[in-house]
């Protein structure tokens, strides 16, 4: 028992070393991971670093001041300090991004696992439904769903979740189809363990990795969709700090005060880039083809 544990421990450290090796080998991936961690920290600590009142402090005497030492990113048409507003915005955008991907992951993988394991009519029906979802570009479908649900941040999040789940369902279903033929599943069945338990406690933990990789790759895209639809006027009201909304507001002053669109856009680009780089790195780490 002792030796076995030690060997699995050493296998684990070897694994960590290999992951670390791949991470540090590619400077871009490393940079992306650091950036992504920084973004998450900013999202969590934003209202502590910057007083939340910065987003609601309207001071018309301070309107549209260009970037300076006092206002790093300048001020907007309400006289708010843009740097502070952006820091506060990150929280909403990043939490929406996480909520969308996690909710899509949860719904998608449950449906995928049951679909693949049970098979039959359920599987057939569910796969045709995912086919329908794949025949419409996700941004357009999200737009249509959001339009049907009405504006508001929760409806916007829900609309993107609706287009997000079928991808995970497809991937996990494929994994489960292979996994359910393995011997240990027969053993569990012979032990009269309920199907529900087998799927939740045995099948999903063994097949979830490719779906997780896909989810990390999706972060960057989801935040773009979210900010894009918010830019079009779904989602939050004017004074709530949100990056897409900031660009909508800045569009009116595009030539007069270009910093109003430049900085929020750069922030979205930075967040998306960070998660895309990190996703690439995680895919490389978990990709068995890269191992000898």
């Amino acid at each position: 028992m002792m030796t076995k544990r030690r060997s699995s421990w050493s296998a684990f450290t070897a694994e960590l070393k290999f992951a670390g090796h791949l991470l540090t080998q590619n400077k871009l991936v490393l940079a992306g991971t650091i950036m992504a961690v920084a973004v998450l920290l900013l999202a969590m600590l934003g209202p502590i670093i910057v007083s939340p009142s910065a987003a609601t402090n309207i001071d018309t005497s301070q309107r549209l001041i260009p970037p300076s030492f006092q206002h790093w990113f300048g001020t907007d048409d309400y006289g708010r300090d843009l740097f502070k507003v952006i820091i506060l915005s990150i929280r909403l955008d990043v939490s929406a991004m996480l909520e969308i991907v996690l909710a899509g992951l949860f719904i998608g993988s449950l449906l995928g696992a049951f679909s693949g394991f049970i098979g039959g009519k359920l599987d057939e029906g569910l796969m045709r439904i995912t086919d329908i979802f794949f025949s419409i570009p996700s941004m357009i479908l999200a737009l249509a769903v959001a339009a049907a649900l009405g504006t508001g941040i929760n409806n916007l999040i829900l609309a993107i979740v609706v287009v997000q789940w079928p991808g995970y369902t497809r991937i996990l279903r494929g994994q489960v189809l292979a996994e359910k033929e393995r011997l240990y599943v027969d053993a569990l069945r012979a032990l009269k363990i309920r199907r529900f338990r087998i799927i939740i406690w045995h099948i999903i933990p063994n097949t979830i990795y490719p779906v997780l990789v896909q989810a990390t790759l999706d972060f960057g895209q989801v935040i773009l969709t979210f900010a894009g639809l918010s830019f079009l006027g779904f989602g939050v009201s004017a004074l709530v700090p949100e990056l897409g909304r900031l660009i909508t507001a800045g569009e009116l002053y595009i030539f007069q005060a270009p910093w109003l669109i430049a900085f929020p856009g750069l922030t979205i680009l930075g967040i998306s880039l960070a998660f895309n780089l990190m996703g690439d790195g995680i895919r490389d780490i978990l990709d068995p083809r890269l191992r000898r």
Partner: protein, 323 residues
């Protein structure tokens, strides 16, 4: 896909509003309900819905005071023109850059192409559009350089002086065919920025796929044979390797068209481009559900058509594939 728009419009929303016009009297509403079977169970309503779609009755847009299908068809050529132009950017830049980065593998051009690809997929398309306007319209104008128009599809006063006869609805094509070179130039100038913004997202994707499939092909025996025959490198790459390397690129290109269509609402809004996407976005503001559903439907129909075209292209590129 008709199923989704059916659920969205007929189940989530008040279905009667789909068919009401501003001239509908209160007393006529029961008639509408009877005509479109709105009180029937949903499988029947779905069949009725499909029938009305097929007969061209896509509902009535209250914000535009006209039938949805007609409104969308009027804007259709503008969107197609934009998408074609964006596609040309992708093909003209993405494929050559992909080849260069495969041939110069792991050297500077390769790294640059990787960076462009990464930034491309991470850039908010609406923001890129605004930046392009800022630089190529406003700053160029300030610096006294020749500048590009910031939005719209053509110059209105110029259009009045040199009207374009409508043949296909594609403005650049129509004006070229009719010999109206002033308008062709103007339309082209209006097209450059929006199409670049729209195409930029996919540019990097195509570039990377072209690179990796080219690297794959260059490792194969027949390329070595072509080289050992003493053929110049240019001929080996362009005549022998390129065609085989194109197959994965075409597949991804088909998927890229989907993202082109998806980016259309944002790009068209930012550039005041009079296409279907902008119409749909305007419909959101006025709660004009039939119009949005119609747009969704047309977009997915286009996507299906593109996928079919891609499948046919395979057979052309690879004679081993037969249908």
């Amino acid at each position: 896909m008709t199923f989704i728009t059916f659920v969205l419009s007929q189940v989530l929303l008040d279905p009667v509003s789909l068919y009401m016009t501003e001239r509908t009297r209160e007393a006529d509403i029961p008639l509408l309900i009877a005509h479109y079977h709105l009180n029937d169970p949903w499988p029947i309503r779905y069949v009725v819905y499909l029938r009305s779609l097929l007969t061209g009755d896509w509902g009535y847009s209250r914000s535009l005071s006209q039938p949805v299908l007609g409104a969308l068809m009027g804007r259709f050529p503008a969107t197609v023109e934009l998408a074609i132009a964006a596609g040309l950017w992708i093909v003209a830049l993405g494929i050559p850059l992909g080849i260069i980065s495969a041939v110069r593998n792991n050297r500077l051009p390769d790294h640059v192409s990787r960076l462009i690809a990464l930034i491309g997929v991470s850039t908010p398309v609406f923001w890129l559009g605004l930046l392009l306007q800022l630089v190529f319209f406003y700053f160029f104008q300030q610096w006294g350089l020749p500048y590009l128009p910031s939005g719209g599809r053509y110059d209105v006063t110029l259009m009045l002086q040199h009207p374009v006869t409508n043949i296909t609805g594609l403005l650049v094509f129509d004006s070229l065919v009719t010999g109206n070179f002033i308008m062709a130039q103007d339309a082209l100038a209006h097209l450059i920025l929006p199409s670049f913004a729209l195409g930029f997202v996919d540019l990097g994707v195509i570039m990377r796929i072209m690179r990796s499939s080219m690297l794959e092909v260059l490792r194969q025996d027949y390329v070595t044979l072509a080289r050992s025959k003493g053929l110049p490198e240019r001929v080996v790459i362009l005549r022998h390797a390129l065609k085989n390397a194109m197959i994965p690129t075409v597949t991804v290109g088909g998927i890229a068209v989907a993202t082109l269509l998806a980016g259309a609402p944002l790009t068209e809004t930012v550039f005041a481009w009079p296409g279907m996407g902008r119409l749909a976005v305007a419909a959101i503001g006025t709660n004009d559900a039939p119009l949005i559903m119609g747009f969704t439907l047309i977009t997915s129909l286009m996507l299906v058509l593109v996928n079919l075209t891609v499948d046919i292209l395979y057979a052309f590129l690879d004679p081993r594939i037969k249908y």
